[in-house]
């Protein structure tokens, strides 16, 4: 059980008292009559072969309030696509699988590219964006929830708690982010603990109390891949196609909506998923690639808000960040000790060194090209450029699912 302290500029919905999944689900069934809910699942075929997806499907089969489930399948052949369709059959409601590598969807991507609307390279960002497009095209749902497909500790309570704040007709939230503690026998979630939070606080130290930094600092787990939003948010938000997806999406929410309409919710007591290797020596893969993309996304968002980055600021930032991260590391060591968790201080210090290097690399990349890769355009713009794109998308998905 957590405390009930409200921190930051957004609302925090804690897990207080004994949870009642039955109550949540029965209320959600009522809400879904007027605000139908769609679940978007960006998945890789490999996740169906591991322990995560079978568990998720088992849990989703018991969920009654979902109007539609849209699974975007990546890195799968035709045979694997057919196997996934079979695999998803226990899930009730309307289930549609978007075959990202299929002939029809590939042609949709080609159509977008030739009209100057490049949806970027393969990845979670592009998959999520396409799924939003499909949900918007069908116009049968008002709320979209999304969670990763590599969660090995999945329970349907996670989904219920995630959907509840946005689906509730009188709570008036348009965006809700999930949070949880990433703890097994040790503390996980290094990028959030040792990069994002210390970096945000370092930036606050250098550029002052900026709205976006306060907004970002309000999230207990800004990199969590679980969130829920209204279809209007999905229609107007642009999505980065790289690892800056989570930070970039939060930046868009910050830009388009009041923080009073944004909340975060405690969705799980324990959460575990696929772990990435640090790959400290190679900035093009693993956690290093992720951290560089996240830093670039933060710098660009701040620059678009009027913050001026200079060589001197970046030099100070690297030093400030290192100090902040080292202080944070000490705090987490104490936290781990009192809870009897393993804490490899050397490994954590190595991660901090690697992240410091990543901040420097991101700063260099930003100075060389401040614009960077543009985010995937929002669906309003796509619809303006290709008026029949929704019809085309529905035709492709329906033909694939025949």
């Amino acid at each position: 059980m957590s405390d009930f302290y409200q921190s930051g500029v957004i609302t925090t919905l804690h897990q207080l008292g004994k949870s009642s999944l039955e109550r949540l689900e029965s209320e959600l069934q009522g809400f879904a009559r007027t605000r139908p809910i769609a679940l978007v699942l960006p998945a890789l075929y490999s996740e169906f072969e591991g322990p995560a997806m079978p568990g998720i499907v088992r849990e989703l089969a018991k969920v009654k309030y979902l109007n539609e489930v849209v699974l975007v399948l990546d890195q799968a052949s035709e045979q694997e696509f057919a196997r996934v369709r079979e695999f998803m059959s226990p899930v009730g409601g309307e289930v549609r699988i978007i075959h990202n590598k299929g002939k029809r969807i590939s042609e949709i991507y080609e159509t977008l590219k030739r009209n100057g609307l490049d949806p970027g390279p393969q990845g979670k960002g592009r998959s999520a964006w396409l799924a939003y497009g499909y949900v918007l095209a069908r116009a049968k749902s008002d709320v979209i929830a999304l969670h990763d497909c590599d969660i090995v500790t999945y329970s349907r309570e996670l989904l219920a708690r995630l959907c509840y704040p946005v689906a509730h007709p009188s709570l008036d939230y348009v965006f809700c982010k999930g949070y949880y503690s990433r703890v097994s026998n040790k503390m996980n979630g290094r990028v959030t603990r040792l990069l994002v939070t210390p970096l945000v606080r370092s930036l606050q130290q250098l550029v002052g109390q900026h709205g976006f930094l306060m907004f970002l600092d309000s999230f207990r787990y800004p990199l969590s891949g679980e969130f829920c939003m209204t279809t209007d948010v999905a229609r107007t938000n642009r999505i980065p196609s790289d690892w800056g997806l989570e930070v970039g999406s939060l930046a868009e929410v910050y830009r388009n909506y009041s923080s009073r309409r944004v909340c975060q919710v405690d969705i799980a007591a324990t959460y575990d998923h696929k772990h990435q290797a640090l790959s400290a020596d190679d900035a093009n893969k693993g956690l290093m690639k992720m951290t560089v993309d996240i830093c670039k996304s933060m710098f660009r968002t701040l620059a678009s808000e009027g913050v001026v980055f200079s060589d001197g600021l970046f030099k100070s930032l690297i030093v400030t960040y290192l100090r902040q991260a080292e202080d944070t590391l000490v705090k987490y060591e104490a936290d781990a000790t009192i809870n009897g968790l393993e804490f490899d201080r050397h490994e954590e210090a190595r991660a901090v060194e690697a992240f410091t290097h990543a901040v420097a690399l991101a700063a260099q990349a930003y100075m060389e090209n401040p614009m960077g890769t543009p985010p995937i355009p929002n669906w309003n713009r796509v619809k303006a450029a290709i008026p029949d794109i929704f019809e085309m998308l529905i035709t492709a998905v329906e033909a694939d699912n025949k």
């Binding site: 159509t111 009209n115 029949d388 035709t395």
Partner: protein, 234 residues
């Protein structure tokens, strides 16, 4: 014995002579076919490149032709499809020209009929393309106007207009292609006539009071004007 041999060889000789006369035509046909296929392939490649260069695909995306293709489960680029259509058209023309080189009366007649039919195919294709664009434009205009006027069933109305125009265009195309023209004409007249009669009856029955009010207002206004002008002007 000689006569007997003659009886055997005569048909064979005749067959050989006929084959000898037919052979140049056959060779000409084969040459025409080979050259035609090569030419069709070259034209197809040039056409696809040209269409790509002038952004034909993007134009098709915006005009809705790509969606039409996708509905027909065609998942290639519109420029490639145009190239394939031109290739097969040229191939058919080549085949017809090649067949005419055989100098067979029946085939010559068939080739003549084919070339006579070609203009109809072209005009039908043009009607189809223009009709599709026009129906999309009109339907969208109806949708925007009806939605802006606060009409509740704007989308339904726009779809109805699009469907009716599609029926009209298809009838025109089939009439142009001379595919059962009398049946098409009769079917079209029945459908359109039926719709008009249905609308008339619906308005006649449902709009009696409204029509009465309009007529009464008109006559009342006229009467008022007539009674107003009683003063004689000097």
């Amino acid at each position: 014995m000689t006569d007997f041999m003659e009886m055997i060889f005569e048909p064979l000789r005749e067959l050989f002579m006929q084959f000898k006369a037919f052979l140049p035509g056959l060779l000409a046909m084969l040459v025409i076919l080979v050259l035609g296929i090569l030419l069709a392939k070259a034209i197809k490649a040039i056409l696809v490149r040209f269409l790509t260069a002038v952004n034909f695909d993007s134009w098709c995306d915006r005009m809705g032709f790509t969606t039409l293709m996708r509905k027909g489960d065609l998942w290639t680029k519109p420029s490639v499809l145009a190239g394939v259509i031109v290739f097969w058209l040229l191939l058919i023309v080549t085949l017809m020209v090649g067949l005419s080189a055989l100098k067979v009366a029946a085939i010559d007649q068939m080739v003549g009929q084919f070339f006579g039919y070609m203009p109809r195919i072209f005009s039908a294709a043009i009607i189809l393309v223009i009709g599709y664009v026009l129906s999309g434009f009109v339907s969208r205009a109806v949708l925007i106007t009806a939605a802006n006027s606060g009409f509740h069933y704007a989308k339904l109305l726009a779809e109805t207009v699009r469907t009716l125009l599609a029926v009209l265009i298809l009838a025109m195309v089939m009439e142009q292609l001379q595919i059962a023209p009398s049946i098409v004409l009769a079917a079209f007249s029945i459908i359109f006539g039926g719709i008009v009669i249905a609308l008339s009856i619906a308005f006649g029955v449902g709009g009696i009071d409204a029509a009465k009010r309009v007529i009464e207002r008109e006559t009342a206004e006229k009467r008022a004007e007539e009674t107003k002008d009683e003063i004689e002007h000097i």
